[in-house]
């Protein structure tokens, strides 16, 4: 069998049903092998979208996403998507074509050192030198991407190696002596945590994206309920506990809910699970959880002590550790603490008034949340739309919320929605975008059209880069380089791709528009006109 066929066999062995990619000269042998396989290929319109789609697919399906690009510019276009996946710990295998191995290093046409370029933000990478390495390398790549703290793994395959003959044998076991993630929590540390929890009067759980990647949502709920501990979450941890749960307190951080931030600062014991407590979550490190001792649970030992200093660290898989804790915990006396937290100020706002000709984005998202089913998937882009969506879309049932939390990549939402739809065909997928981020990924409308999938695109159009505008206003009292004059008529644009759409310019029209979008069997664009002065918070 040829090397290219071997790659496809590896993908089949890993149960990969769909790949996202963009072909080019040095990856053509692999495409020929894909042509005759049962694996579905989604042709994106630019390689970055392939990585974002694989990201969305991975997060929705709970498996490893795969994207493919050619050498040179194909590979460098993937870079932002790889970095996005790295920052959010998304399992992904990236396969890139490379120039003929005999001429590597001579700067031939479309040659770039992609393993070198991506080194700071991949979990691992390989440049293949021999087709015999293909099965073992891909086996390792999928193992590394999907275990421990997940992340992107890149495999660079010179075109001649894709054409080389090999005997295929897929290794059953992976042995990497330098890679042995810890899953079970240290028993002694578990005992110490239980003891600490017992003596705490105001315990609080801060749940991060690790809860979702460890598939520990159910475990967290059971633990919180048994112990009587309230829960806050980071942006990556949206969905860690259902928003309508009595112990739910909201999102922490600079763009979080005040009640959640207040709980963090009042708590005497903060149990951080699967969160790195980045700068966006603390909103200024010195004042974060100033009255609390911290217990930090993470699968990545390097996160422990990096941003916050715990009194009890414990390394392992969130699902397993929470189970270990739930087994040993007794109900804590937290009634007084819980009463203190559930004050009336914590209640959410209902629709405020909006300027004529505009809608209130927070209200729009809240309304959407009340209309969609319990399995809907919302993908927020980056900027004001991200915060409006993150703060106001209630994650109940098995809803999901996907966004680029770490890297903050504009243009993420639409291609990630394509991937999400591929991973969950029957579910309602909503891409929330601003007019800036939408135009970064406009080409994906072509992908959506070609794949004939239904995505509900909720566009907030304020004709500018709203969040940057806000920062400039606050810092310099004037703005520059943020007006998106020259924006197209987005409805006509949607129409050009064969999609329906509607423009909404007042709050009262939102419900009818959403109903139409949700009932439509095809991709539908709802363009909400937003006041340029609208605030993020």
């Amino acid at each position: 069998m040829k090397g290219a066929q071997a790659i496809v066999r590896c993908l089949e062995e890993e149960n990969i049903k769909v790949v996202f990619g963009y072909p080019g000269a040095t990856i053509v042998p692999l495409y020929e092998a894909l042509r005759t396989s049962d694996i579905k290929h989604v042709l994106v319109r630019q390689e970055q979208a392939a990585a974002h789609s694989a990201n969305g697919y991975a997060r929705v399906s709970g498996t490893t996403g795969v994207c493919i690009g050619t050498s040179g510019p194909g590979a460098t276009n993937l870079v932002t998507g790889i970095a996005t996946a790295y920052m959010d710990s998304i399992p992904m295998v990236i396969i890139t074509g490379q120039v003929n191995s005999a001429v590597i290093g001579r700067d031939v046409f479309q040659e770039i050192d992609i393993t070198g370029a991506t080194e700071p933000f991949v979990k691992h990478s390989y440049l293949l030198k021999d087709a015999e390495q293909i099965p073992g390398t891909l086996r390792e790549a999928f193992h590394i991407a999907g275990t421990g703290r997940p992340g992107p793994v890149l495999v660079d395959v010179p075109v001649d190696i894709q054409k080389q003959d090999i005997d295929f044998h897929y290794p059953e076991k992976v042995v990497i002596r330098g890679y042995k993630p810890t899953y079970n929590g240290h028993a002694g540390q578990i005992t110490r945590i239980i003891r600490k929890l017992k003596s705490s009067r105001k315990p609080l759980v801060c749940a991060g994206g690790g809860i979702l990647s460890a598939d520990a949502v159910c475990e967290l709920r059971l633990f919180a309920e048994k112990a009587g501990i309230p829960v806050v979450h980071t942006m990556m941890g949206i969905g860690a506990l259902a928003a309508d749960h009595p112990l739910y307190l909201g999102m922490v951080g600079s763009h979080g809910h005040p009640c959640a931030n207040r709980a963090v600062s009042q708590s005497d014991l903060l149990v951080v699970i699967g969160a790195r407590i980045g700068d966006r979550a603390t909103g200024g490190k010195e004042v974060f959880a100033e009255n609390a001792e911290i217990i930090h649970i993470d699968i990545d030992p390097a996160e422990i002590g990096k941003n916050i200093k715990p009194i009890i660290p414990i390394v392992g898989d969130a699902k397993i550790i929470i189970r270990q804790l739930a087994d040993k915990i007794q109900p804590l006396e937290t009634n007084g603490w819980l009463e203190q937290l559930h004050t009336p100020q914590n209640k959410k706002h209902t629709a405020p008034k909006s300027k004529k000709g505009t809608v209130n984005p927070a209200y729009a998202i809240q309304l959407l949340g009340s209309m969609v089913d319990d399995e809907a998937i919302v993908l927020a882009d980056v900027g004001q739309n991200q915060i409006w969506a993150a703060r106001n879309f209630e994650l109940t049932g098995s809803r999901k919320f996907l966004t680029s939390g770490g890297l903050g990549t504009m243009g993420y939402s639409l291609p990630a929605a394509v991937g999400a739809k591929a991973g969950a065909a029957g579910k309602t997928v909503i891409s929330v975008v601003g007019d800036g981020g939408f135009q970064m990924s406009l080409g994906e409308l072509g992908t959506i059209s070609q794949q004939n999938i239904k995505i509900f695109i909720l566009l907030f159009n304020n004709n500018r880069l709203g969040m940057v505008r806000e920062i400039q206003d606050k810092t310099y009292s004037r703005t520059y380089g943020v007006d998106l004059d020259g924006n197209p008529d987005f409805l006509k644009l949607a129409e050009a791709y064969g999609f329906k759409g509607i423009r909404v310019a007042c709050n009262d029209d939102l419900e009818a528009a959403f109903t139409e979008a949700l009932n439509c069997h095809e991709t539908f664009l709802v363009e909400c006109m937003v006041d340029p002065e609208e605030r993020t918070l």
């Binding site: 700071p120 590394i144 002596r177 330098g178 390097a302 002590g305």
Partner: protein, 163 residues
């Protein structure tokens, strides 16, 4: 700022050195010296890394290094329980009237003269960093033409091995 010495066993593969050195630059860790060579097992290389920083930096360096798939094992080599060595080659100006003095100094430091030329002597000297630095200071008045240092290498004392 303290100095920490790490002995790191890594897979002997292309790209490993770049991953390790890249880690230091992108996370702004200060590296004093780094030396690499094959070990008794040809599949494994040993890197000896001297890091400057506080306890926080040191912990982070260790943990971040451990995250690299190619890193097999990391041990801190503490001064009181380890042997540190470095080798330097020093090419020093050697006018006829200075030759014997340079030779005597080299001898006191248990150095060796490994090359003799019309205007220079090249001295090979081995020792811990302080010894080499002291020797270099003594050679400066003669005029050091060129110098190469290997960077620190180290092993734990006693019967224990880290591999």
């Amino acid at each position: 700022m303290d100095r920490y010495i790490l002995s790191v066993l890594v897979e002997n593969r292309a790209g490993v050195l770049s991953r390790v050195s890249g880690l230091f630059s992108r996370r702004s860790y200060n590296i004093d010296s780094l030396s690499v060579s094959e070990t008794e097992d040809p599949e494994i290389s040993r890197m000896t890394i001297a890091v400057r920083g506080d306890q926080y930096i040191f912990d982070q360096v260790r943990k971040q290094l451990n995250k690299l798939i190619d890193v097999i094992k990391i041990t801190e080599l503490k001064p009181d329980r380890s042997v540190y060595r470095e080798l330097a080659l020093v090419k020093v100006n050697a006018a006829p009237e200075n030759r014997s003095a340079i030779g005597e100094t080299a001898e006191i430091f248990r150095g060796k003269i490994v090359d003799v030329a019309s205007e220079t002597l090249t001295v090979e000297i081995t020792g811990d960093v302080d010894k080499i630095t002291a020797f270099i200071e003594l050679m400066k008045p003669y005029g050091i033409k060129e110098m190469a240092r290997t960077g620190l290498t180290a092993l734990e004392r006693g019967n224990n091995t880290i591999s």
